[in-house]
């Protein structure tokens, strides 16, 4: 029941906010209560989780559409557990961050985020392919509306691009799923598909079917172009959810579908995935360097960081896969924090251009301190969460192939370059103009949000064991699946 609660509590809260209406003074509190409650019910998932087992836990199985043998089948393993927690946690921050910033159609704003939060929990806990697909696609609708209504000047273009790009990927995945359904003798259960024998040709075709859906979501080079537009135009909360959670759907899909169901194709095409990941890290790293827009810069840096995730997954060793997963969680914290930092600046200055800033440290010392921490985490400094994931992936790469490791480690320097250069231009130096001179430092709400994230980033950087220990057995089980050919 816990998983159902994690899915439906935010959705119900979202509907309540909508019903309460725009003029209701309590709607923010309803939203916050819904988000809090949604997070609270996920905590027993962690405490009650049995880390030594690789089986699905907290399983719920009810018939849903008997006509196609589709079940309401939920469950989490060590891979998905942390994402449910992360998502529910980030939702609270998003609600708080949007408290006074959003001025138009406030109820719709909170409702969209809460409903999306529930749907995202559904994606991470669905064990039935159609259920997964429904949640996966369902998230498009609130995100489309979030970008389109509360976004920046070019929001309509960005919203349409986001929707159509991701829909394109998902539709091909749908056909792949239907094919697997028939091959598996009429079952949509993801775990059943692990056992279906498939020829290499079919596996490769299906791999590409899934690849489009997941690569667009990650996003991998060269299907990443929707992301900078969507991020730049989305409101702060939208960017946070997009970067922290939505991008994880793609990478999660690789681990849940591509690797265990299509092991031979995964190994056969691993070189391609590794190459695409390295291109993302390197090429997008350079692109990031020259960005003049703060949000665009962080958006590109997200693509580059997600490159480490996909790289880790296709090395087929425990360090790589776990490193990828840790990197996903860490990126959830760090990118959320970075976008919130930009949001803090944007709310005061109404510009995202780096050139309009300079010397912010003089007027906003608290902010500068916190942002320093997040910038360091983004650059992958040891003792921050950003270091752990990248380090594990590079170690994994070292095991697989020295040259991949060398390339990844070398171009990883770019991450430090673009983040710190951006930080220097925005924060340090003389006060750039009158607007900067008039800036007020963080208010208590912003301190709560950013401070919580800072703690998370440090905790994960100093003591990552609580995060990694839950995934060990699930990851080794996954690697066992990948190692066995199913031709």
């Amino acid at each position: 029941m816990l998983l159902s609660a994690a899915i439906w509590i935010p959705i119900v809260a979202g509907v309540l906010v909508l019903v309460a209406g725009e003029r209701n003074p309590w709607m923010r509190w309803i939203a916050l209560a819904g988000a809090m409650l949604g997070f609270l019910v996920t905590l027993p998932l962690y405490t009650g989780f049995e880390p030594s087992s690789s089986a699905m836990q907290f399983v719920e199985l009810r018939p849903w559409i008997e006509r196609f043998n589709i079940n309401y089948h939920l469950g989490i393993d060590g891979i998905s557990l942390l994402f449910v927690l992360l998502n529910s946690f980030i939702t609270i921050l998003v609600v708080i961050a949007g408290w006074t910033v959003i001025e138009t159609r406030i109820a719709q704003y909170f409702a969209a985020f809460l409903i999306m939060s529930g749907l995202l929990n559904g994606v991470f806990s669905a064990l039935d392919a159609v259920l997964f697909y429904v949640f996966f696609e369902g998230t498009l609708i609130p995100m489309f509306i979030i970008i389109g209504i509360w976004g920046g000047p070019n929001r309509v273009y960005a919203a349409l691009k986001f929707f159509l790009y991701t829909l394109f990927g998902s539709l091909l995945m749908l056909i792949a799923m239907l094919y697997l359904y028939n091959e598996a003798g009429g079952s949509f259960a993801i775990l059943d598909w692990h056992k279906v024998p498939l020829s290499l040709g079919v596996q490769i075709a299906l791999f590409f079917g899934f690849l489009f859906a997941f690569a667009v979501k990650v996003p991998m080079w060269p299907v990443h172009t929707w992301l900078p537009d969507a991020h730049t135009e989305a409101p702060t909360g939208g960017s946070v959810v997009l970067a922290a959670i939505l991008l994880k759907l793609g990478a999660y899909g690789f681990v849940r579908f591509s690797l265990p169901i299509l092991p031979d194709a995964s190994r056969y095409l691993a070189f391609m995935m590794v190459a695409l990941s390295l291109i993302a890290i390197a090429y997008i790293g350079f692109v990031t360097l020259v960005q003049t827009d703060l949000k665009r810069l962080i958006a590109y840096s997200s693509i580059s960081h997600m490159g480490f995730v996909t790289l880790g997954f296709f090395l087929f060793n425990a360090l790589g896969v776990e490193g990828g997963l840790v990197q996903m969680i860490s990126h959830g914290f760090v990118s959320a924090a970075m976008f919130l930092c930009v949001g803090v600046l944007y709310d005061r200055m109404h510009t995202r251009m780096i050139a309009d800033y300079g010397g912010v440290v003089n007027t906003m010392p608290k902010f500068a301190t916190l942002m320093m921490l997040f910038a360091m985490a983004n650059a992958g400094l040891p003792a921050t969460s950003g270091f752990v994931g990248e380090f594990m992936v590079i170690m994994g790469a070292m095991k697989a192939n020295f040259w991949i490791a060398l390339t990844a480690a070398t171009i990883g320097i770019l991450g430090a370059a673009y983040t710190l250069w951006m930080y220097k231009r925005v924060i340090f130096g003389a006060v750039a103009n009158d607007h900067v001179a008039k800036l007020g430092d963080l208010n208590y709400r912003e301190i709560i949000v950013l401070g919580t994230l800072a703690l998370a980033v440090l905790w994960m950087g100093v003591y990552p064991k609580p995060f990694t220990e839950v995934m060990h057995s699930s990851v080794s089980d996954l690697l066992r699946h990948v190692a066995v050919p199913k031709l």
């Binding site: 018939p63 849903w64 559409i65 008997e66 006509r67 196609f68 159609r105 719709q108 159609v130 697909y133 429904v134 696609e137 369902g138 498009l140 609708i141 489309f144 509306i145 389109g148 209504i149 929001r155 309509v156 919203a159 349409l160 929707f163 159509l164 829909l167 394109f168 539709l171 091909l172 749908l174 056909i175 239907l178 094919y179 359904y181 028939n182």
Partner: protein, 494 residues
């Protein structure tokens, strides 16, 4: 003796009631003044409810098939289900269009009695067990619709649309008749079951087969006209655009359902032995319709025209199920495939009624809501209607969690199971194209500012029905099992 006759013919009770009701309505309407015209609409609604009750009553007594009038007329679950869908569509159409027609001076007895007579035509068509009844039902339905399109006789576009509809409709009826006469020539019978038996016997010999396939081509052309699939789709955009919106609403729902029934009766019931032939034809029609409908819809600035092209595309999707029943010399996937089409058809009828109903509802005296621009900023002025339209649009686009998604899922599954993977991939990619223009409507409603203050008449009943119409798409989207099971049961006993 008389009592026996009455009991024997009890299964046609809905049709009899409707006929009597329609005739009574014509007389009743003579005594109603213009201001009290609403009474006639209520009268028509009552007739519909009685028919629905009668159909439910018949449904309880229906085991599998009941043949009446020497095998001219059949009552089965399939027919009862589709009849109920038609009642719902017509009843909703009456509710939505009442003030629209009233404000334009079109709320006359003719409209309502024509509507009921065309419904009678649909019902006869749905229950047809012989070529003769098919033609009878088809003509009764179509002739009433031609007249309804021209109801606004002072409007040039309406009369043009009616003319086009009539000429092309007559032509298609001619083609259909020609095809039927060929098959009659080959088989010597008009009754569908006997045709099926005869065709199965003859299909082995090449000489007979040529004649049968020749007839099939013409039957198919007539069917394609009525369903409005490429390349027989030309009338759809003009008629949808030119007809008064309430009439478009009617044309887009009930008659489509009836045409689907006709396709099932003619292809699945009468000519199953020719399945390999007609499945190929349907595959071509389907993919062309999906492609042309979705691509052309993008270029439309008129919402009614856009929905017309979307109707063409949707009929193409529906055909994906109909062409997947007979696979590799066996009928194993028959029930899955045809029930997918049936489910698609029912969901589409609900979506279409909702979409056009919204247009009717948002129109008022001196303002036709029919251009894309008219949807601008609806979320600011009427958030609830915008939300309903959002559901309908996402459902048409096939995005979960709406009913439209499961409709697409079912037909794609049928196509993939039948081995038409490439057809499914093409259809899926074209449905991405389709998503664009549905999204554009959502974009206009949610992201843009309203141009002028939109005013909606307070119509409590209409609001209620429209809300139910939109929400049912969401409800079926979350719990589709029951409707799917009903569809499957109806097909199993076909």
């Amino acid at each position: 003796m008389n009592a026996m006759l009455l009991i024997d013919h009890l299964p046609v009770l809905p049709e009899v009631l409707l006929l009597l009701g329609a005739c009574a309505l014509m007389i009743f309407d003579l005594y109603v003044k213009d201001e009290g015209r609403g009474a006639s609409a209520v009268f028509a609604q009552v007739v519909l409810y009685l028919c629905a009750a009668a159909t439910l009553f018949v449904e309880f007594g229906t085991r599998s098939h009941l043949y009446l009038f020497n095998g001219l007329f059949v009552v089965d679950h399939f027919a009862n289900l589709l009849k109920l869908v038609c009642y719902l569509a017509v009843s909703a159409a009456l509710v939505y269009s009442r003030s629209y027609l009233h404000e334009r001076g079109m709320l006359r007895g003719e409209f309502m009695s024509l509507l009921l007579f065309s419904l009678l035509g649909m019902m006869v068509l749905i229950s047809a067990a012989s070529f003769l009844t098919i033609f009878l039902g088809l003509e009764l339905m179509s002739l009433c619709l031609y007249a309804m399109v021209a109801l606004n006789r002072d409007s040039a576009t309406s009369t043009e649309a009616a003319m086009k509809y009539f000429v092309l409709g007559a032509l298609s009826s001619g083609l259909l008749l020609y095809g039927m006469s060929m098959i009659y020539g080959a088989t010597g019978t008009l009754t569908i079951n006997e045709v099926a038996r005869e065709v199965a016997r003859q299909v082995g010999s090449p000489a007979d087969r040529t004649l049968l396939v020749f007839g099939l081509v013409f039957v198919m052309a007539g069917l394609a006209f009525k369903l409005g699939v490429v390349p027989f789709h030309m009338w759809i955009p003009d008629v949808y655009h030119g007809a008064p919106t309430p009439v478009t609403l009617i044309i887009g729902s009930g008659p489509k359902v009836a045409a689907f029934a006709m396709a099932v009766r003619l292809l699945v019931n009468a000519l199953p032995a020719l399945a390999p032939d007609w499945q190929q034809m349907l595959a071509l029609l389907a993919i062309l319709s999906i492609a042309l409908g979705n691509i052309t819809a993008i270029a439309q600035s008129n919402l009614k025209r856009m929905l017309a092209y979307s109707a063409i595309a949707h009929m193409g999707f529906m055909l994906l199920g109909l062409l997947s029943g007979f696979v590799g010399d066996n009928w194993n996937s028959r029930n899955d495939a045809y029930s997918a089409s049936l489910f698609y058809m029912i969901v589409y009828a609900v979506m279409s009624v909702g979409a056009f109903g919204m247009l009717v509802y948002l129109s008022h005296a001196g303002f036709e809501c029919e251009n894309l621009e008219d949807m601008r900023g609806l979320n600011r002025t009427h958030p609830w209607y915008a939300f309903l339209m959002l559901i309908i649009m996402f459902s048409l686009a096939g995005i979960p969690p709406t009913a439209g998604f499961y409709a697409k899922l079912a037909v794609f599954q049928a196509a993939v199971a039948a081995g038409h993977v490439w057809l499914a991939v093409a259809a899926v990619l074209l449905s991405l194209v389709g998503a664009y223009y549905y999204l554009r409507v959502v974009k206009l409603m949610y992201f843009d500012d309203p141009v002028a203050a939109q005013r909606v008449r307070p119509q409590p009943v209409g609001r209620l029905v429209l809300s139910a119409n939109g929400l049912v798409l969401l409800l079926v989207g979350i719990l589709p099992q029951n409707v799917m099971a009903i569809c499957k049961a109806a097909i199993e006993l076909l």
